[in-house]
């Protein structure tokens, strides 16, 4: 009977160990971080939609089809995009901050562990969590840089058209419009890739990934 109980307790430990590797402090921060990642994802979705509106505005400007008041819509959409971009920057900082807090709390928890195997398991999990987040952060920084370049291009176009808006000025800016559209198309695609990575990271942070 004793042997059976002992076997059961080992089996039980094997199942529970990964869940116990993080205790309530770091789990609480993980929950906040996952919520923050959700908000970041929603902001990126809003930015993508706004970029898609802007692409339509630019295309219709180039076509000479201004029946939809495209320049005014372009200006409004660009202002909204810049506002969303600022919110994204703030939210990214929040996610980074929570990552730092979570790792610090988790590391502190390790120092209180007496079991050597448990300590090693938890340290490995912390290393993996850091590596996963570093990969996400690298992608966020790269796309953030491209987003700044794109906003600069769109800002220049907006200033140019504000000073002179006519079919001639639209024609003269065709190359710049084309460059902005290409950049916007790439951005929409890259952000979809970033959101995929963010979603996978959120599952890891929440501990609901099946890997």
């Amino acid at each position: 009977m004793k042997q059976a109980l002992s076997a059961l307790s080992i089996l039980g430990f094997a199942f529970v160990a990964p869940l116990q590797a993080q205790n309530s402090d770091s789990l609480g921060i993980a929950s906040d971080q996952a919520t923050s990642m959700d908000k970041l994802d929603q902001l990126m979705g809003r930015a993508q939609k706004r970029l898609e509106y802007i692409m339509t505005n630019l295309n219709e400007l180039t076509d000479g089809n201004d029946k939809n008041n495209n320049f005014d819509n372009f200006k409004d959409n660009l202002e909204e995009l810049k506002s969303i971009r600022d919110d994204i920057k703030d939210r990214v900082e929040k996610v980074r901050d929570l990552q730092g807090q979570r790792i610090a709390a988790w590391t502190k928890e390790v120092s209180g562990m007496n079991d050597k195997d448990m300590r090693k398991l938890t340290n490995d999990q912390i290393d993996k969590a850091k590596a996963d987040f570093d990969a996400l952060d690298k992608q966020m920084r790269e796309i953030g840089g491209d987003a700044n370049d794109l906003t600069g291009l769109l800002d220049d176009l907006q200033k140019y058209f504000a000073s002179s808006f006519s079919s001639d000025s639209v024609n003269a800016a065709k190359d710049r419009i084309e460059k902005a559209k290409t950049s916007a198309r790439d951005m929409v695609k890259d952000v979809d890739g970033l959101r995929d990575t963010l979603y996978k990271n959120k599952k890891i942070v929440k501990g609901t990934n099946s890997q």
Binding site: T56, N59, T62
Partner: protein, 218 residues
């Protein structure tokens, strides 16, 4: 109840019962890409089944089913053509309980139309009675797809702030968003049929904003 309160209450109920106000396709297409992207990313959708679908409906439905009845939806319908997916047809839905299990909710739906008959029924602006269609929740991403799933009329996917809802599908009308379609295609009398069979082409100026949805559908 005093007369003023009665009038106010009647106005409120009438307002809630109205069909959804049709949105422009310039906004519905990015909204559809956003909905489909989330369903794909979170593996709610089975992409193997998407490859077999003859048509797709991507729609946001707001429901007020408790005590008031009815729901309103705004979205797009697309069909598979020999050259890939057709352009979008703007549609609205009203009445019924399209995916609404509880009242006052906001649901995103992706409905895979598995045969050409089902596509035609949506394209003709039909009334769907509560038992008029074989519709069940589609299999999740990664699940094995069998002939039953491919042969039924619809596979329905619903998202409601992450909650899993049963399919409650019927008693609603589909309306073609003629004004939205005319503006998008720049053709006053463009028909849903012409859009879905590829006779009405997507204008060049709209292709960039549509490319994300086409990419996601691959």
């Amino acid at each position: 109840m005093n007369p003023l309160r009665k009038i106010l209450l009647a106005s409120l109920l009438a307002g809630l019962a109205l069909p959804a106000c049709a949105e422009s396709l310039d906004k519905l297409v990015p909204q559809a890409a956003e909905i489909f992207g989330r369903f794909k990313r979170e593996e709610i959708l089975n992409m193997e089944l998407v490859k077999d679908a003859k048509g797709i409906v991507i729609i946001n439905v707001t429901g007020f089913s408790i005590g008031i009845g009815g729901s309103g939806g705004d979205g797009i319908l697309m069909a598979r053509t020999e050259d890939g997916w057709s352009g979008p047809v703007g549609i609205t839905t009203d009445g019924g309980t399209l995916g609404i299990d509880v009242g006052g909710t906001d649901n995103d739906l992706v409905i895979l139309l598995m045969n050409n008959g089902a596509v035609s029924r949506w394209a003709s602006g039909e009334h769907f009675g509560s038992s008029s269609a074989q519709a069940v929740m589609g299999p999740k991403g990664g699940a094995a797809v069998d002939a039953t799933m491919k042969n039924r009329d619809f596979n329905v996917y619903i998202w409601n702030k992450g909650a899993k809802l049963g399919v409650n599908f019927g008693g609603f009308d589909v309306n073609i968003n003629n004004e939205g379609n005319a503006n998008y295609y720049d053709k006053p009398l463009v028909s849903a049929k012409d859009i879905l069979n590829g006779a009405a082409k997507v204008p060049e100026s709209k292709k960039d904003s549509l490319s994300r949805l086409y990419d996601l559908l691959k």
